[in-house]
Amino acid sequence: MLENNDQELKTIQETLVNENSNISLTFQELILRLSNFWAERGCVLQQPQDVEVGAGTMAPETFLRVLGPREYRVAYTQPSRRPADGRYGENPNRLYKHTQMQVILKPPPENIQELYLESLKAIGIDLRQHDIKFEEDNWESPTLGAWGIGWQVMLDGLEITQFTYFQQCGGVDLDPISVELTYGLERIAAFLQDVDSIYDIVWARDPKDPNKVMTYGDVRLADELQFSVYNFETADVEKLWQHLNLYESECQTLVDRYNDLLKDGRQKGADVAAITAEKRRFPLLPAFDLCLHCSHLFNILDARGAISVTERVGVIARIRTLAVGVAKAWVDQQQLPRETGPAPAAGATAN
């Protein structure tokens, strides 16, 4: 068997190429296929959150949308930054910034697992030729006050997706429950293209000249190197702390002000209509962005080795306080009676 290795490898590669040639999935085609697939199943296609996040879960399209009673379906890619995971572009499997495809289905349809498996077919994975398993993996983020139950989906021993039924978010029990699907796009692309290094993934191929390709390395290597240098070596610790404190205090001020409105509304003889109007336009989304800034600054400080034991627990608790504060206020804001006015456009979920 071992002596037949070369012949065998050739067969495998041929099969893979055949599998791939039908679809010739580049990194960007992978994104397009998944986006199309979920758009066809009723998802809003959103753009990535433009404030740094550590995971697609932290984007408001997940963190805030899963709260409250309104149904929602959304799909978006999310570049996710984890400063401590940076490897100066030298490690073939690890990135400072990787790309997630995030899908939220609220509430989850009954055939959610079948839908998910169909999405794999849509990116050219013939399930009959592979080994797929749903292995227990529950997700928890103490910083976000969030947790869920689910699996890591294993394809031929490779974890390709985190599949989670959210149970709690921002310290708030959820109803309806949302399903979150998080596809690890670099892993899936490397698998489909059968390359051993993320940097060898073909990102784009010239349709006129298939031999002309842009690789992941061409597109992103400088990014990985420079941010690793910054996060591990040059980030100014003193200033990072200052930024963190500033963002925190502004976020906290907003949360406090919303809570004051809540209190005012409960007073006897309160002008409920005026308070409701003020709550409705209250900038909670900006407050959440401020909280995300804090989280990212914390991650850089952590990568920089600038956070001691005692501080670490404390800072996580501070960020959690912000996230939970925004979440609770957001739930309240979502439950405000709707303004009378023109009906929202069909198909869109109004804010």
């Binding site: 509430p107 021993g157 490779l158």
Partner: protein
């Protein structure tokens, strides 16, 4: 008699929970059938078998009653006085007869403890099984225990391990309309996700398993059989090779598959330069692969992956698994190489940034406590004649936790300790230091081995004692099922390590030292009072010793009690004494002398309670004077007891416990004669005190090995 089937179809259940849930469902259904009289009248438990796969748990019960048998039962009505006035039925009697639907003339008179009543014998029609099961099963399903539950439906009507997606419930070929999780049971089950396309209809409960098999879903026993065979077959491709038996892993993969097959994969020989521990952890814990060893037992560059599909004819799946494993090994090698750039010694300082426990500070502080503690232990052992390298123990303790700062341990946390040991060795530290670090978390359970070296034992004991002391100081004492810091396991580890290494180590002293490690620290201010600490440690370790002697050594509980009452600071000694007691306890003399000791203790207790054996008296009577009034039996006992006491002291010092106990047992005739002939509680205070003093002396002198009065005797 029809068969019964219930299948709960779900999304993938965590592998670790499946077997327990299946067994629980079998029990719940058996109990239900018995409770509802749906099995044979003879009370035998019904034949119920469980089937489970990742996507279902099911039970089949053979030959159940289609309906309950009709029963007649007596229904009590109003009292006779109320029901009949002057021999005539009252409106109350009429109303009762109407209610139970029995003609008035069939109403009987019955006598009850409360007086005379009227009653009627009513035939109660048995309900049919379908109706009963449809009503009762949802409650049984909802009652299943899961380590972790979830909601999935809007409005959150129920929780279960994962969403329920279909159910099958059949009595014979008839559907039982059971409803749970918004699903109404039918006859349609589902086959393998990939290998079987459409739903599969279950015609009858008795062909459930066969029908599933045609849809490429095998029951757990068949899957285990298939996996074992396939592992064997795949391994045979490599001459002389064997797969490493791993029960836990086998169990996991059986519960991760519905239709398993096995592939043999390969990895590059160069990775074999990484330590076997690292390679096996990556394969087993992260990839769920079985390791393969060559004829000499060394790890071979192959692995076995269990698939949830019928094979891999083109090698595509194998290629994928090999790719993943290569990346993982690359990572491990990268971490290994990176970690070597900073030796463990330079990492001690970094421990200041690693939390040990939120109230107990950093690992640096822990290291600063366990190093002197390890030295104290080692010194004490050395004083008692044990050969131990104090310097190595000290250094190992300082370095023990430094591997927590390494990339390899951050990635493979389950290898903490092991990695430290491997690095210490690679960095040229002595074997004594490296082995001690390697073994510091041992034993992980009562089945696990204790550290191999004496220095490792010292470090393991010091580390665990420090944790227990800190937690008990904070008042985090395990109670009932609550033991979040696994302190019981750690204490069991201390007991086992001391016992198996024969360490002359005093537990009270150990925990006094361990607490002193916190002296003057910030945390100590949060600590409970010292007496409280000593008392809670004492109670805790008594339980741990009981557990060790009973459950690990299998000593009877009364032997354990007798031994522990006589002393529990010295683990090794307690084990020796327990062995001695167990060896002699069945002799006739020993049983009698146990009875006699109980009697002595009772007499002494009663004397104390009635003020006839006060502490003053105990002191003044402590020297026995031979009196003219003494009974010869009393003198004889005093004489022999004194001789035996000397002998026992000597034997005890030599740890000749069995011999000492036998010698004590030999006092039986004189003790028996004493109790036959001599009355202890006589009027004369001096004589009485003398006799009490004699008994006290016997109890005190002869209870140092075991308290005989704790021994349970037949009579």
């Amino acid at each position: 008699m029809p068969d019964f089937l219930l299948e709960i179809g779900t999304e993938e259940i965590p592998a670790r929970m499946i077997d327990g849930a299946r067994e629980e469902l079998v029990k719940r259904v058996s109990d239900l059938l018995v409770r509802e009289r749906l099995v044979d009248g003879n009370g035998s438990s019904p034949a119920v078998e469980g089937t489970s796969t990742p996507r279902r748990i099911a039970v089949v019960a053979r030959d159940i009653a289609p309906a309950q048998a009709d029963v007649s039962e007596q229904v009590l009505g109003p009292s006779l006085r109320v029901a009949f006035k002057d021999g005539q039925p009252t409106p109350a009697a009429h109303a009762f007869a109407k209610k139970v639907n029995v003609p008035l003339n069939e109403i009987e008179k019955v006598s009850t403890p409360k007086g005379e009543y009227v009653a009627a014998t009513v035939a109660r029609k048995g309900r049919n099984a379908t109706e009963i099961l449809a009503e009762a099963l949802p409650k049984e399903i909802a009652g299943l225990y899961w380590a972790k539950n979830m909601y999935w439906r809007t409005g959150k009507p129920e929780r279960f391990v994962r969403p329920v997606r279909w159910m099958v419930a059949l009595l014979g070929s008839e559907i039982i309309p059971v409803e749970f999780g918004g699903i109404l049971a039918g006859a349609e089950s589902r086959g393998h996700r990939i290998l079987s396309g459409a739903d599969v209809r279950i015609e009858r409960p008795d062909n459930y398993r066969e029908t599933l098999a045609t849809a490429r879903v095998l029951d757990q026993a068949r899957r285990e059989h298939v996996v074992r065979k396939a592992l064997d077959a795949a391994t045979r491709q490599i001459p002389g090779a064997r797969w490493r038996e791993d029960k836990e892993l086998l169990h996991t993969v059986v519960n991760l598959t519905e239709f398993p097959s096995v592939i043999l994969g390969n990895f590059e020989r160069e990775y074999l330069t990484l330590p076997e521990e690292v390679l096996v952890t990556v394969m087993r814990d992260h990839q769920k692969y079985f390791a393969v060893e060559d004829a000499s037992g060394k790890l071979a560059p192959h692995f076995l992956a269990v698939l949830n599909t019928d094979g891999d004819p083109n090698g595509i799946i194998r290629h994928g698994h090999e790719r993943v494993l290569r990346a993982r090994f690359n990572d491990a090698r990268f971490f290994w190489n990176t970690d070597q750039k900073m030796p463990l010694k330079q990492r001690v300082e970094m421990l200041k940034a690693v939390t040990f426990q939120k109230d107990l500070g950093s690992y640096y502080e822990k290291a600063a406590r366990i190093a002197p503690l390890a030295v104290k232990i080692a010194d004490a052992l050395e004083d008692a004649g044990v050969v131990v390298d104090c310097t190595a123990a000290d250094e190992a303790a300082w370095l023990a936790k430094t591997d927590l700062t390494t990339e390899l341990v951050k990635e493979f946390t389950e290898l903490q300790g092991v990695v430290g040991g491997l690095y210490a060795k690679a960095q040229g530290l002595s074997h004594k230091i490296a082995d001690a670090i390697y073994d510091q978390y041992k034993p992980a359970s009562m089945e696990d081995a204790v550290p191999t070296t004496i220095e490792g034992a010292v470090l393991a004991v010091a580390d665990k004692a420090d944790t227990i002391a800190g937690m008990f100081g904070l008042g985090n004492v395990p109670s009932g099922s609550k033991d979040p810091f696994a302190l019981r396991r750690q204490a069991n580890g201390i007991v086992k390590t001391i016992a198996e290494h024969n360490l002359p180590l005093n537990l009270s002293l150990l925990f006094q030292w361990a607490r002193e490690g916190y002296a003057g620290s910030e945390v100590e201010r949060k600590f409970a009072a010292k007496q409280e600490y000593v008392a809670s440690i004492e109670t805790f370790f008594r339980e741990r010793l009981e557990f060790y002697l009973r459950d690990v050594h299998g000593f009877a509980y009364d032997v354990v009690n007798a031994v522990l009452v006589a002393g529990r600071d010295d683990v090794v000694d307690a084990v020796e004494r327990a062995k001695a007691v167990a060896a002699v306890r069945n002799s006739e003399d020993f049983a009698s002398i146990s009875v006699a000791f109980k009697r002595m203790k009772n007499i002494l207790r009663q004397a104390r309670e009635t003020g006839k054996w006060t502490e003053v008296q105990q002191v003044s009577a402590s020297v026995r004077v031979i009196h003219e009034s003494d009974d010869p039996a009393e003198r004889e006992l005093a004489k022999q007891a004194a001789t035996t006491a000397d002998l026992v002291k000597k034997l005890r010092a030599e740890k000749q416990y069995a011999q000492a106990l036998t010698d004590i047992s030999r006092l039986r005739p004189v003790v028996d004669t004493f109790f036959d002939k001599v009355m202890v509680m006589v009027e004369d205070e001096q004589i009485r005190s003398n006799r009490l003093a004699l008994l006290q002396m016997l109890v005190d002198e002869f209870s140092t090995i075991a308290d005989f009065s704790e021994i349970v005797t037949e009579k």
